[in-house]
């Protein structure tokens, strides 16, 4: 019986005129998004490779003298990931360039050629299509699922047969979900094929397992909208009124609630402006240098007077440490601010889907955070390497400090280029916890809605 209902419903959907229009549009958007993705990916990969090669050649040049290495500023970019096809995670607006030497990591910058004169435009990835197009399609498919049948009088006919109401409900739900799945997977196939055909360097297409999980997540999200549509179709007898209400709800859930994030973020956590940050660093180093003598007599003399390199090294290291502390705080607070902003927007399934998609695909802010942590580790490794190598040289004074004039205090011997640690961004450990958290909230939405639909349909007046 269920099979018959599903079949009938699906045929009804697929044969309708609007469904054909919507499918064509959806698939075209998928195709277009793949084109844009490949185009951008190639550009970004080129930039990334360029930066990478530059670091290597810079290090190679400096391998002739150990003391040059610590002062060499390396520039790293986040490696573009193929998963961005699925979920870009706003990486376009996040900082992607990290500069570091052995002493500190500068505040990451977004070194992209962006036109700030244009208002910010969204990237059309799969997540976007699902969030803004397919969710709407889900509503279009269900807004009249009961009310239309009630208007035509077929609902009471159907229920006159020995079919339990729950089965009718399930049939309608399953058919809507199946139709959406067909639409989504055909779009996905078009998108992947396009990427595959155009070919992107270095990496293939996203992992199949990854895509399957993503589709599962998307269906959980779309299911919430299907249920909302069915709910209002039960509650409101006039189908055009239910459409009106649904459009308004869609606007609130998909556009309005997610845009509260920024203000919530700015309200809960205060982050220093760049000017304030620079000032704070300057003040802290001035403070330390003012009390130079506490690091040993003559620590503050650079060129004249009796110098004391050991004390001066201690002083400079204290300055570096204070600076790094300030930068770390800044980054952590920035991250905290962003997270606080996202907390509130979790009421909307659209935001939940966005966040879980980011976590699942390992894109977005998480990636920025990961890069920062990995570079810190690398920095430590490089420093250890220099200290150990320096110890092997009896002629060196073994004093490493963040001041260009101090390179003379280190070993002047060449090092083997191959032995210098190099940075390679390792794959992120997956954010299972985060994905599951957001996913279960989505499921919670589904359960509540499903239950409400069931209750209201049981009591619905079918005449």
């Amino acid at each position: 019986m269920l099979g018959i209902i599903i079949k009938k419903e699906m045929l009804g959907n697929i044969k309708s005129k609007w469904f054909i229009v919507v499918s064509v549009v959806t698939i075209m958007v998928f195709f277009f998004s793949a084109l844009v993705f490949v185009d951008k990916y190639k550009l970004e990969m080129r930039d990334y490779e360029e930066a990478h090669q530059k670091n290597l050649s810079g290090l190679k040049e400096r391998a002739e003298n150990l003391s040059f290495i610590p002062y060499y500023i390396q520039t790293y970019q986040i490696k573009p990931s193929v998963n961005r096809l699925l979920c870009e995670g706003f990486e376009k607006s996040l900082p992607n360039t990290f500069k570091m030497d052995v002493f500190s990591l500068q505040i990451p910058e977004g070194q992209r050629l962006d036109n700030y004169m244009l208002s910010r435009f969204l990237d059309i990835d799969w997540t976007f299509i699902i969030n803004f197009i397919l969710s709407f399609v889900a509503l279009l498919m269900t807004y009249n699922s009961f009310s239309a049948e009630r208007e035509q009088g077929t609902l009471s006919l159907m229920l006159a047969n020995p079919v339990p109401r729950s089965l009718v409900l399930l049939g309608k739900y399953a058919s809507a979900m199946l139709t959406l799945l067909v639409l989504l997977s055909s779009g996905a196939i078009i998108s992947v094929t396009t990427v595959k055909l155009l070919g992107i360097p270095y990496q293939g297409i996203p992992d199949i397992k990854q895509m399957a999980l993503f589709l599962l997540l998307s269906m959980a999200f779309l299911s919430a909208f299907v249920l909302v549509g069915m709910l209002f179709s039960c509650l409101i007898s006039d189908s055009s009124s239910s459409m009106v209400i649904l459009i308004l709800i869609w606007i609130v859930l998909s556009i309005i609630i997610p845009s509260f994030g920024r203000i919530a973020a700015e309200k809960t956590v205060r982050v220093l402006t760049r000017t304030e940050l620079e000032r704070k660093i300057l003040v802290s180093s001035a403070e330390i240098m003012r009390t130079a003598d506490s690091f040993g007599p003559g620590a503050g003399n650079y060129d004249g007077g009796p110098t004391n390199p050991q004390a001066r090294t201690r002083m400079f290291n204290a300055v570096t440490e204070a600076k790094n502390q300030i930068i770390d705080d800044y980054i952590n607070r920035s991250l905290l601010q962003m997270r606080e902003g996202r907390k509130l927007t979790r009421i909307s399934p659209t935001s939940l889907f966005q966040y879980s998609a980011e976590a699942l695909n390992k894109t977005g802010v998480k990636r920025f955070e990961n890069m920062f942590i990995q570079l810190k580790k690398y920095q430590k490794k490089l420093k250890n390497f220099i200290v150990t190598k320096d110890k092997e040289d009896p002629e060196s004074m073994h004093l490493l400090a963040e001041w260009e004039g101090h390179y003379m205090m280190l070993s002047q011997k060449p090092v083997d280029f191959d032995s210098i640690p190099k940075f390679e961004e390792t794959d992120m450990e997956s954010c299972v916890k985060n994905t599951i958290y957001n996913f279960s909230l989505l499921i919670l939405w589904n359960i509540i809605l499903g239950f409400t639909v069931y209750i209201s349909f049981r009591k619905a007046d079918v005449r």
């Binding site: 962006d114 203000i263 700015e266 003399n301």
Partner: protein, 505 residues
Amino acid sequence: MIWTILKKEFRYNLSTLRFRAGIVLLLLLIVSFAPILLNSHKKQLSDYNHLVSQNLLDLQNLMTWQNLTPSIYNPPEPLALFSRGIEENISSSFRIVLDEIPVLRSSGTSENPLLGVFSVLDMALVFKLILSVLALLLAYDSLSGEKERGTLGLIFSNQLQRHKLILGKFFGGVVTLFLPVFFGFLLTAFMIERSPFIDFDAEGWLRIFFMGLASWLLALVFFSIGLFMSSITKRASDTLITLSLVWSISLIVIPNLSSYLAVRIHPFQPRSGMTQQKQEILYERGQKINSIIHAQSIRGLVIQHDEFEPWGSYYRVATRALIRLRQETDPLIAKVRIEYADRLREIDGRHYAILMRQKNTADFLSILSPVAVYEKVMNSFSRTDATSQKEFERQAGVYREQIIDYLKGNEAFSSLRYSTTLEESQVPELDTKEEVDKKFAPIRDRLLETQPAPLEVSEIPRFHYDPVRMNISLKSVRSQLGLLLFMVLLFLIGTLATFKKFDVR
């Protein structure tokens, strides 16, 4: 007759669920948005005041002229709560230095860049979403719906010309849609008026009035599109589907696509090229400065003890040779730095020209979308568009000139106070290594005991930002407002033309 139809349509619209739901949602959203936006403005204002007073405090503690590098800040624009525009993309502060002329920068370097993950929230978002949907919902079944119900046939059995029906329906919509716009803006204005942090002058209110007008116009564009679609489709549900496609295309697809295409049509010059050109100029400048320094023979030993002030370091103690060198070279170096700032600006100017070309292309491509046109109008009236940002940049440049003129006028570059707090009599005359080793430390210790007085700064020009005037804003959106009006007329005429042949059965 038109009047009767108008009255009937107006009453009918008011009684519909969609109109009531729409207006309730609009007012609800305004009530919840406005306090949040006002609060955010309050926070921006307090941050701004904090930064400005900090800057003033630093100025009052200024020790040497070389470190006169004040920061200037773009005061937060209260009208931005209506439309954020590109305000958030652009850094709102400049540091005034000799080396560079202020140039608009992306805000990525000035605040928490991670907030880029959030989309923008402003009043224009509410108005454009709700008003466009409301207008479409009022219009979608006005012809096809009557046809389905069979009332259209009844109407024409009376002596009524077809165009009168359309005009009646249109003006009914004009009056109906006036209500949400009027009450929406009235409510917003009321909430602004009650807020103690915003105090608009007549111009501010006039700007808000124009924004209301533009919003009404946007609603009318969608209403006439709705009427048009309703006259060419047979069933109301078909109309609704078509209209939701039109709506999402004009709200999401066209604005995104036009920006994307604009960037592809006028691609950026590679950044590496720009950086390299800049580096070459900086290198050349470095060479020039070095040659100035090397041209001076240094008579004696160069020893210093530095101190920090808010905007940099300075010599607290320095030997005669160093002071002499600085006094002779500083005016020349300053001249070189100012001269090269112009050359660096040229490169930025070339980059900026590309940005503007992209922006103009994107603007041109997006004229197909009434929403994109509306956004431009709102940005301009909210003073958050490119014109306003450019004006801030221009005034910052003027301020820099004022500072330079002030320094030149006071002959600061060649004065002792340019690089050190020492007075003429205090400069230690230490020429040989032995003298330095023996005497520098005690002299330094003695000099450090006295606290030098900060510079007299009361006559340094202060920055005051004068925002873009109303007539300039109005001039820049003339064509956009005309375009919106044109769209209304176009679709209205389209409806009149197609409805002539409409089969009313």
